[in-house]
Symmetry: C2
Subunit: 484 residues, 2 copies
């Protein structure tokens, strides 16, 4: 099938799928989860062979993938995400009567989803982007990630099974392979109504630019990475030097540093504990046995990025990583805020098990650094209760820079839940108004439509007087489940 | 002040304004309404002199402007718009504990608002875009529309009074005059975080393109007009020929056709009533006394657009409008679906009191026409109960093309209420996910941020355990006003 035929098929499927009741879509999403589980160990083994990720990690990732699908199924059954809103007619209002107005969210149409290299299950074929687009009622044209084609085919098979068992058209989910030009053609196709992407800044920005230049521009949700700064405040640093170094090291090393939320930048006070913190971090990173990275391209980029960054003025290497074809050895470097402020190249992401520690002299310097930070997926502030209470300015500045702000724990590990925001200001993502993790991800693929003076029969069930699905709605400005 | 200083000032004001409690912002919005009322008849007279709009219309528009401000004030007090969402910590969850996650919407930062020519009050200085941005917590840099500078200064004075009485910094609302290059500089400025615009396709698209090309792209909400097709179905046409012609004529003539929702395209069945419908419409439009348009540029564009469209192949002029320097005389033309399908130039908006009637032979032809329609703010389907019940395909297709779908009444007259969508697919707007009228307009200027494991003191009141503001929140996936 040509890509044009693929999008034609998606559009035809949209006619059916957009009218599919929420309950059927929920059943479909749960069926995908079941079919993925039915793939058993084969899926994990193939994924591990293709991605070099350990089986334990992939077992967890499979669970996460299934839970995501189930979370969206539940969301569909609850129906509140649709923002159903009704302003009943006021025929006697003066000077003018008010007509009956009923609004809710409707799916945008066919969505192109790009697979991510670093999550062969949870952010690929049946991952968060696909799950949220399907939940919204959008057919998905999935562009396989070349790093794990067999894994992708297996999961695609599971989705096809689920489509079959739910009696849905195969055009609801289509699977496409190919290089950059295939991706470009998909983004440019007039029938594509939105794009989701997780990957590099270069890749995401290219897609964004293409989408803007279309005759009819479309939304692009590109998650383009982040260096996830951690701000360690002085009292905390002194009180918990060892624990903080261990926490930071563990977060940097997790998954060979191949998480979008890997902390690649740590601000640490210049103080009597600085050297012990750095020594301990050096020790933890230095003694770690490097694991295989996802593929040779990732590994090559990692070492190239490292070489570039470590050569920057004012940067001192503390742990050297010997270049390897596939294994990602951890690395560590340090600089101080004044050097860091001079050079925006020190804000570029080095995707892998590396972090740059930036020492600062006082809160004024730290706030200066926060001011010039580019947009991030996460920022973390570690401070004692007392110093956090005093750090209003810093908290305020940092909040403007990120999608998620942590005050304890590490940024790696992204909960799939209603309150999650995995997003952030450009260049972390191309659309700071969205999240790609958690149930709110569904809203990326929908838009509001208002029915005015519509007969009951032409309204979707969600907007009918009787509220037959018993969902939360806003009626006359008030949340309620009551019928009209 | 240079434009750079203006944006600097806006950013400084943002530091204060984003932390201003909802109640104070609500008081501020109501104070603007009061100060506008205090301007009394002078405002109406000046606006009428500048815009040529009659006093009665402007009196209504002033009321609408004040009501918009009050509606946002009420929304702020209710707090539900913030989408406050809390997933409490689950420290004992296996295999991993869940951290405490709290999400809500936060303002984007300084917003540039462009005044609209056709609503000197309701979509200009203190109009819907400004009101929704201010309600969201964003400082506004308002670019005056050159068509009504004195009106704008009066309203700006009212806003300054309100800022003063509420003790808010003057940088929360700044007023800028100038030509296209001033607008461009505002859109390009790095401190600008979003743009709202109501006007022509050309103007809106230029702003959108600029915003995409920034080093850090920003959201643009450009409402770029629409031809608002009305689909009249056969039974309805036969049963109510006279009423429908009168309704259509009144809607076309309203405000000298200078509404974004003016119905510039009417599909009518080729039948025994076609000629009576056209005769009556011709009579109503022909006998109307043309009123002054907003300014000479609008009038010139109207007659140029008319001349262009009436010269298209297959278009027959039924009512000729004699060109005038300022007065907009109504015009009417007809064609049939086959001619219309051949020529996308017939979908271009002619902003003024004009409509094109397109006759069709059967529902298949009508559905074909709906298929090729570009994005619209509104679509209207007039049919009997029976034929609407049979028109599922048409309704379905038309729904994909618009932000608001009417089954009775006329598209002109846009209610300001929670269920309104004044938006639609490109090219009606640059962002179909948004509305520029109604309380949901506030969401254009906000983005979600999640706090993870934050101390209570660092949380905004809306996310604190006790729910001190008693707002609706989503806790563990359920709507509630309960404390944690």
């Amino acid at each position: 099938m040509s890509l044009d035929q693929v999008l034609q098929t998606a559009e035809v499927a949209f006619h059916t799928y957009k009218k599919t009741p929420a309950q059927v879509k929920a059943t479909f999403l749960r069926a995908i989860a079941t079919e993925i589980e039915n793939l058993g160990d084969e899926l994990l083994q193939v994924a591990s062979q293709e991605s070099n990720l350990p089986l334990a990690r992939l077992t967890g990732e499979r669970g996460r993938t299934m839970n995501q699908l189930k979370a969206f199924a539940e969301l569909l059954e609850q129906g509140g995400w649709l923002e159903a809103t009704i302003d009943p007619a006021l025929p006697d209002r003066k000077p003018l009567p008010r007509p009956d107005l009923r609004r809710m969210l409707f799916p945008l149409g066919p969505v192109v989803v790009f697979g991510a290299s670093n999550f062969p299950l949870a952010f690929s074929t049946a991952g968060g982007d696909s799950a949220s687009a399907l939940a919204a009622g959008c057919p998905v044209v999935y562009k396989e990630h070349p790093g794990h084609p067999k894994t992708s085919q297996l999961v695609f098979g599971a989705i096809q099974q689920a489509l079959g068992s739910c009696g849905l058209p195969t055009g609801v989910f289509q699977h496409v392979s190919g290089g950059i030009e295939v991706g470009q053609e998909l983004v440019k196709h007039p029938k594509t109504k939105a794009v989701a992407f997780t990957g590099s800044y270069k890749g995401g920005k290219a897609i964004f630019d293409q989408a803007c230049q279309r005759e009819q521009p479309i939304p692009v949700y590109a998650e383009m990475g982040s260096i996830n700064p951690v701000f360690i405040l002085p009292e905390k640093a002194e009180a918990e030097t060892v624990t903080l170094a261990e926490q930071a090291a563990a977060s940097v090393l997790m998954g060979v540093g191949q998480f979008c939320t890997c902390p690649g930048l740590v601000f640490y006070p210049q103080s009597q504990t600085t050297e012990s913190f750095l020594d301990l971090l050096s020790q933890k990173l230095g003694e770690s046995i490097g694991d295989k990275m996802l593929h040779e391209g990732i590994s090559k980029n990692y070492y190239q990025g490292l070489t570039r960054l470590l050569a920057e003025s004012g940067v001192e290497t503390l742990v050297t990583a010997e270049e390897d074809v596939l294994t990602g050895h951890a690395a560590l470097a340090r600089t101080n805020v004044q050097e860091w402020l001079k050079n925006t190249a020190l804000q570029e992401e080095v995707f892998g098990p590396f972090t740059l520690v930036v020492t600062y002299n006082d809160m004024a310097e730290l706030e200066q650094a926060a001011e010039v930070l580019l947009g991030q997926l996460t920022c973390t502030i570690w401070g004692t209760t007392n110093e956090l209470a005093e750090a209003g300015n810093l908290v305020d500045t940092v909040r403007e820079k990120c999608g998620r702000l942590l005050f304890a724990g590490v940024p790696t590990g992204v909960e799939v839940s209603p309150a999650m925001t995995h997003g952030g200001p450009f260049p972390a993502t191309s659309d700071s108004r969205s999240t790609s993790v958690g149930t709110n991800a569904i809203k990326r693929f929908a838009r509001p439509i208002t029915f005015q003076s519509a007969p009951q029969d032409l309204l979707p069930d969600e907007l009918k007087d009787q509220n037959p699905l018993s969902i939360w709605r806003t009626v006359d400005g008030q949340f309620t489940k009551d019928p009209i």
